[in-house]
C-alpha cells in the first residue's frame, strides 16, 4: 500500500451525495455508497454518516466531462472516477457517462469503484499489489468482495485498528484489539526496574510479534514490553521461547504474512509465532537477495509496507513482490531518514504508526508523515531506559540532555 501523506484528524466523518447518477435509483445509490464506506469502517474506528444538506467532510458527485475541477471525465471506459486526498478535501467524483450497475456484472460496478475512491478520500494512494482494492485498475464485480490485507494494513496505518469488536463474528480478522499507546514510564505507577536493562539500556533488536506483543532481544535473553516498561518474569532465554534461534540477533521484524524473520551474521530464520517455519537458518543472500550480512536493524515501514534494512551509513529497501526485490538505486545513505544517526542498533515500526530508531541508550521517534524526527519536548533523542524500559530513575531526555521532569509529552 501507499499513503499519500494526509489523513483526517477526526474519525467521525460525514458525507453528502450532491449529485446522483442519472440512471440509478437514489435509495439504491445511498445503500451502495454506505456499503462502500463500511469497507473501511469495518477495520478502523472511522464512522461515516450521510447528510442531505449542509457542510460535510466528503462530497460525492456524478458528473460528465468537465465538471469544475480541471480534470474532465472522458466518457464511457477509460477514467471511471477520481477522488481527492484529505488534504485536498476528500471529495469523490464519478463519471456519469459510465453505465453504473449495482449487484451486477454488467456495466461498471458502483460499489467496487466507490470503495476504491473512498480509500483515496481517506488518504490511501494507489497500491502496486494487484489484489488490493487500491490497485488503480477496475477489476469488475466481485460478489464475495473482501478487503485485501494490503488495504487493511494501509488504512490501519492511517487510522489505527478497530477497537470495538463488531466484526468479531469473522474469525481471523485483524484489528479487534486496541492499539497500544507508546510504552512509557509514569510517575504514578513506576514499573519494577530491570537491572540488566536499566544498567545498560542498549539492546540487539526490538520487534512486534504477529499478536501485537513487543519484544526486546539482548544477548541470550528477551523481554516483553508493557505499556509502562517490561513485563514481570523477564528476562527469559531466547532459545527456550524460539527453539532453534541463537542469541545475539542482529535484526528482526514481523511481515504482513504474520511471520517473524530474524537475522544474524549471514543467516536468517523464519518463525510462525514461536515455531520455526521450515528448515532454517538460510543464507540472507538467498532469501533476501541484495541485502548485506551483519545487519544493524530491519523494519516494515508504514509509509509503504515495504521492508527496510539498515547497516552502518546505508539502508536498503526490499520488496518481495518485485524482481529484483532490491532496486539498483539501493543502498542509499541513511541520512535520507532526516535526523536519524548512522550505525543504529535497532528499529521498530510501532503499532501507533510511528517508526522508532534506537542507538546506545537513546531513541528517535520518526514521523512517517512528515518524514523527519518529531520535534517534541523533551526533544529526541530521548532516554530508552525511561520511556521504553520503565527505568524510572533514568533521565527522561537522552543521557546528558536537559529535559525537565515536568516535560510531559
Amino acid at each position: 500500500y501507499a499513503l499519500q501523506g494526509s489523513r483526517w484528524r477526526v474519525k467521525n466523518l460525514t458525507y453528502k451525495i450532491s449529485k446522483y447518477p442519472s440512471k440509478l435509483n437514489r435509495a439504491e445509490v445511498d445503500n451502495e455508497l454506505a456499503k462502500a464506506f463500511s469497507v473501511w469502517s469495518d477495520y478502523t474506528d472511522l464512522t461515516f454518516t450521510q447528510k442531505r444538506s449542509g457542510q460535510v467532510h466528503i462530497e460525492i458527485r456524478f458528473e460528465k466531462g468537465e465538471h469544475g475541477d480541471g480534470d474532465p471525465f472522458d466518457g464511457p471506459g477509460g477514467t471511471l472516477a477520481h477522488a481527492y486526498f484529505p488534504v485536498y478535501g476528500g471529495d469523490a467524483h464519478f463519471d456519469d457517462a459510465e453505465m453504473w450497475s449495482i449487484n451486477s456484472r454488467r456495466g461498471t460496478n458502483l460499489f467496487q469503484v466507490a470503495a476504491h475512491e473512498f480509500g483515496h478520500s481517506l488518504g490511501l494512494s494507489h497500491s502496486d499489489v494487484r489484489s488490493a482494492l487500491m490497485a488503480p485498475f477496475y477489476r469488475g464485480y466481485d460478489p464475495a468482495f473482501q478487503l485485501d490485507q494490503d488495504d487493511i494494513q494501509g488504512i490501519q496505518a492511517l487510522y489505527g485498528h478497530k477497537t470495538q469488536t463488531d466484526i468479531g463474528g469473522l474469525p481471523g480478522l485483524p484489528g479487534a484489539a486496541a492499539p497500544p499507546s507508546v510504552p512509557r514510564a509514569t510517575t504514578q505507577q513506576p514499573s519494577a526496574e530491570d537491572p540488566a536493562l536499566c544498567g545498560d539500556p542498549k539492546f540487539d533488536t526490538i520487534f512486534n510479534s504477529a499478536d501485537g506483543g513487543t519484544f526486546i532481544f539482548k544477548g541470550e535473553h528477551y523481554w516483553r514490553l508493557t505499556e509502562d516498561g517490561v513485563a514481570s518474569g523477564y528476562p527469559r532465554l531466547i532459545a527456550r521461547a524460539w527453539p532453534g534461534l541463537p542469541g545475539n540477533i542482529d535484526a528482526a521484524f514481523t511481515y504482513k504474512n504474520g511471520k517473524t524473520y530474524f537475522f544474524k551474521g549471514s543467516k536468517y530464520w523464519r518463525y510462525n509465532g514461536q515455531k520455526m517455519d521450515g528448515d532454517y537458518p538460510k543464507d540472507i543472500s538467498e532469501g533476501f537477495t541484495g541485502i548485506p550480512d551483519n545487519l544493524d536493524a530491519a523494519l516494515v515501514w508504514s509509509g509503504n509496507g515495504k521492508i527496510y534494512f539498515y547497516k552502518g551509513t546505508k539502508f536498503w529497501r526490499f520488496d518481495p513482490s518485485q524482481r529484483p526485490p532490491v532496486k539498483a538505486t539501493y543502498p542509499k545513505p541513511l541520512s535520507n531518514w532526516e535526523g536519524i544517526p548512522d550505525g543504529i542498533d535497532a528499529a521498530l515500526q510501532y503499532t501507533n504508526g510511528y517508526t522508532y530508531f534506537f542507538k546506545g541508550g537513546s531513541y528517535w521517534r520518526f514521523n512517517d508523515r512528515t518524514f523527519s524526527v518529531d520535534s517534541d519536548n523533551p526533544a529526541f533523542p530521548r532516554s530508552t531506559a525511561f520511556w521504553w524500559l520503565g527505568c524510572s530513575s533514568a533521565p527522561r531526555g537522552t543521557v546528558g540532555g536537559n529535559a525537565r521532569l515536568s516535560d510531559a509529552p
Binding site: A2, L3, Q4, G5, D71, F73, G77, G78, T79, L80, A81, H82, A83, F85, T108, V113, H116, E117, H120, S125, H126, D128, R130, P136, F137, Y138, G303, N304, Q322, T329, N336, E338, F371, S372
Partner: protein, 85 residues
C-alpha cells in the same frame, strides 16, 4: 475494449498518471524527450502494473493502458522521483 495504440497516447497516459511531467499533456505543443526518460517511465508503469519492467511499449503494456481505471495519479506522495523531501 478499444485498442490503445501509439507512442503519443502512451505518453499522454504516462503523464496523466504521474510517470512523466504533466507538461507532456499540453495538446497545443509538441514534446520531445530523451529515450532514457521515456523507457524509465514505461518501466515504472510496467512495474506498478505487475508487468515485466522491460521499458518497451509492448502489446501487453498498451493493453493494460486501455483498461478502465481510477483517474487518480499512481505516483503521488511518497513517489521516488521527488527531488526534495
Amino acid at each position: 475494449a478499444p485498442t490503445f495504440g501509439g507512442a503519443d497516447k502512451a505518453m499522454m497516459y504516462l503523464a496523466q498518471y504521474g510517470y512523466l511531467s504533466p507538461s507532456v499533456r499540453n495538446p497545443s505543443s509538441g514534446h520531445i524527450m530523451d529515450e532514457s526518460s521515456w523507457r524509465r517511465a514505461i518501466a515504472e508503469f510496467q512495474s506498478f502494473a505487475g508487468l515485466n519492467a522491460t521499458g518497451e511499449l509492448d502489446e501487453e503494456t498498451t493493453k493494460v493502458m486501455s483498461l478502465p481505471r481510477c483517474g487518480v495519479r499512481d505516483k503521488v506522495g511518497f513517489g521516488e522521483s521527488r527531488a526534495k523531501r
